[in-house]
């Protein structure tokens, strides 16, 4: 298995580094100009914001899933906690969007930090079951704590406030999302490029060996869990600002499943895989639901077919093609 594509792989030729740099620059330009070209292809700016938010969440999850080898099915919980934290702050406490975001990220991150050690007591399928159950606990708390969260109807009654006097319209908000997306991607990239990131990958590749080398594998997986939880919380916080609304479904395991399929669909061994996955996912969700009532079946088929025929995702598929 050498499908790893870390930011800077040992022995990578400088030529490839240059190519990566060009790709990155091209991507940055495309993303920066979204509000200008997206109406031309029949989209709208909020749709692009949603893509970046889901991509950020799936990239955070992918640190644990694709690079550390921990199959969490409960990361929507941290996404949702970030969303509720931000929404509740704006609703009851502050009118500062950034402060509300900070509280949201801290809430989700803290929960991931505290619950990670509990989940890593088990591995493999068992780990997935525990993460999903922990996630559902938050879902039921949100549904039942009616007076605070609005229960099943969700949290409403707040709106994103201007930052430094700049009102956050659709376009301005897109750039805010883009800034945080870039920040999150940079953090993840830096981590993966550091000894810490190499330890994560080594855990994925051979856990037993690392244990023999005296590395506390449990702690590293818990750390990866916490970092990915923080990134998911950041994405959730942005999501609550995009909608000016938080639904308990933002915590539900179905959303965790969506993040997983976004990562797998794009290619979970690739750093940018989740971004590709998010583009496909959001487009399908958006346009298919407009065409047919049976969009759930279409979504389900995407799950089943991509798992059966594209296990390496879109990027993995093309990478393999170009190598062959």
């Amino acid at each position: 298995m050498s499908e790893i594509s870390l930011p800077r792989e040992a022995g990578a030729a400088p030529k490839r580094d240059m190519r990566q740099l060009y790709m990155l620059a091209g991507m940055a330009i495309l993303l920066l100009l979204v509000p200008f070209w997206i109406p031309l292809v029949g989209g709208y700016t909020d749709l692009a914001s949603r893509v970046l938010i889901y991509a950020l969440a799936a990239m955070g999850l992918n640190l644990l899933l694709g690079f550390t080898g921990g199959l969490s099915f409960g990361h929507a919980a941290y996404f949702g906690l970030g969303a509720y934290g931000t929404g509740l702050m704006l609703d009851y406490v502050t009118s500062s969007t950034l402060l509300a975001m900070l509280v949201g990220v801290l809430t989700g991150g803290l929960a991931a930090l505290l619950l990670g050690p509990l989940a890593v007591r088990r591995r493999g399928i068992y780990f997935s079951m525990i993460t999903i159950a922990i996630g559902q606990m938050f879902y039921f708390i949100a549904v039942r704590w009616n007076s605070l969260t609005g229960g099943e109807d969700g949290l409403t009654g707040y709106a994103r406030q201007p930052i430094f006097g700049i009102p956050l319209g659709s376009v301005q908000f897109y750039y805010l999302v883009l800034i945080f997306f870039a920040l999150g991607a940079w953090v993840l990239w830096t981590i993966l490029d550091s000894p810490l990131g190499h330890t994560f990958v080594a855990i994925r590749e051979n856990q037993k060996r690392l244990t023999f080398l005296g590395i506390r594998v449990d702690r590293y997986i818990a750390l990866s869990f916490a970092i990915s939880g923080v990134i998911c919380a950041l994405a959730g916080s942005l999501n609550s600002l995009l909608d000016n609304f938080v639904s308990p479904d933002d915590l539900k395991y179905t959303l965790s499943g969506n993040f997983l399929i976004i990562a797998v669909l794009g290619g979970m061994r690739n750093f940018w895989g989740p971004l590709v996955g998010a583009i496909i996912f959001v487009l399908v969700q958006n346009y298919v639901s407009a065409v047919t009532q049976n969009w759930m079946t279409v979504l389900g088929l995407i799950f089943v077919l991509s798992v059966m025929f594209f296990p390496l995702g879109v990027l993995g598929f093309f990478r393999r093609r170009s190598k062959a």
Binding site: R122, I125, Y126, M129, A133, Q136, R144, I261, M296, V304
Partner: protein, 289 residues
């Protein structure tokens, strides 16, 4: 107050029976097939809808027998077409595939039978209250508990005394060895999957008799079934049974004191179990990890 607790505890026992039936089926599939079957709730609802359609023709009792078999047949096709191809891969893939299947089944149910709730007709004599002296218990509730016990005992008898059961247990212990000994493990895993689905189907029909039918009825039961497996311990069917009953009763009793906490309490039990005894009540150490 005491009566209240007993009454809610008994209600919890019935809900716990549903959890237990679901958890046993899931646990069976998890053990031999190594798959967390997210579509379990979907299959459960599917069987219930089959029963709903069959009742006018074959009556409640006929539907109770035929519907789980039909659902098992659908399960057989699904296992052959999709899940069997994923056994050699990372568990992530079968997890996502069954998750997608759950979406498809739910959507199909909604398309065919409609999103609104439907009642499942049960025989009149089961609807009679058995006792009004202390609290209200219908015959149906006793019937649910009795049938859960009988079917579980039946499953244990199959696993203990039939050739299929012996092979399932042997496969749980060491699949490669029994393959080398000449057992067709593909067929064995198909059979095991179908058996698990039939259990889900039974739970679905029983639940529909009490709670009615909706396309999402499986959603409410599948999460507690996961928790039941974790609490009872992976790899032990008896553990799943116990786990289901325990969280059912705990949830019921909590309803008496603090209704809003009735769902959260089962996750708290799971958390406590993970801290105090990570392998669960009767689980084996290091299985499926």
């Amino acid at each position: 107050m005491l009566l209240d607790i007993v009454f809610n505890g008994f209600n919890g026992l019935i809900v716990g029976s549903f959890y237990a039936l679901m958890a046993i089926g899931l646990s069976l599939i998890l053990g031999l097939n190594g798959v967390i079957n997210f579509a379990h709730g979907g299959f459960m609802a599917l069987a219930a809808y089959f029963a709903f359609t069959l009742v006018p023709y074959v009556g409640f009792w006929g539907a109770l027998v035929i519907a789980p078999i039909l659902a098992g047949g659908v399960g057989f096709i699904v296992e052959k077409l999709i899940i069997q191809r994923l056994y050699t891969r990372d568990p992530l893939y079968s997890l996502l595939a069954t998750f997608g299947l759950a979406l498809i089944i739910q959507d199909m149910l909604r398309t065919i039978w409609g999103a609104q709730g439907l009642p499942l007709a049960i025989p009149d004599f089961l609807n009679q209250p058995v006792s009004n002296t202390y609290f209200f218990v219908t015959g149906y509730r006793l019937f649910v508990v009795a049938l859960a016990i009988i079917s579980t005992a039946g499953l244990f008898a199959i696993l203990r005394y039939t050739r299929l059961g012996v092979r399932i247990r042997a496969g749980n212990a060491d699949l490669e060895t029994i393959a080398a000994l000449g057992v067709n493990i593909y067929l064995l895993r198909s059979a095991n999957f179908v058996l698990g689905i039939m259990f889900a189907g039974l739970a679905g029909i029983l639940a529909a008799g009490q709670l009615g039918l909706t396309p999402t009825m499986g959603d409410q039961l599948i999460m507690p079934a996961f928790v039941a497996i974790v609490v009872g311990g992976v790899g032990s069917l008896l553990g799943s049974l116990l786990g289901g009953l325990i969280i059912g009763v705990a949830s019921g009793i909590t309803t008496a004191f603090y209704p809003a906490g009735s769902e959260v309490v089962i996750y708290i039990i799971m958390g406590v179990m993970l801290v105090a005894r990570p392998r669960g009540l009767l689980g084996q150490e290091g299985l499926l990890e």
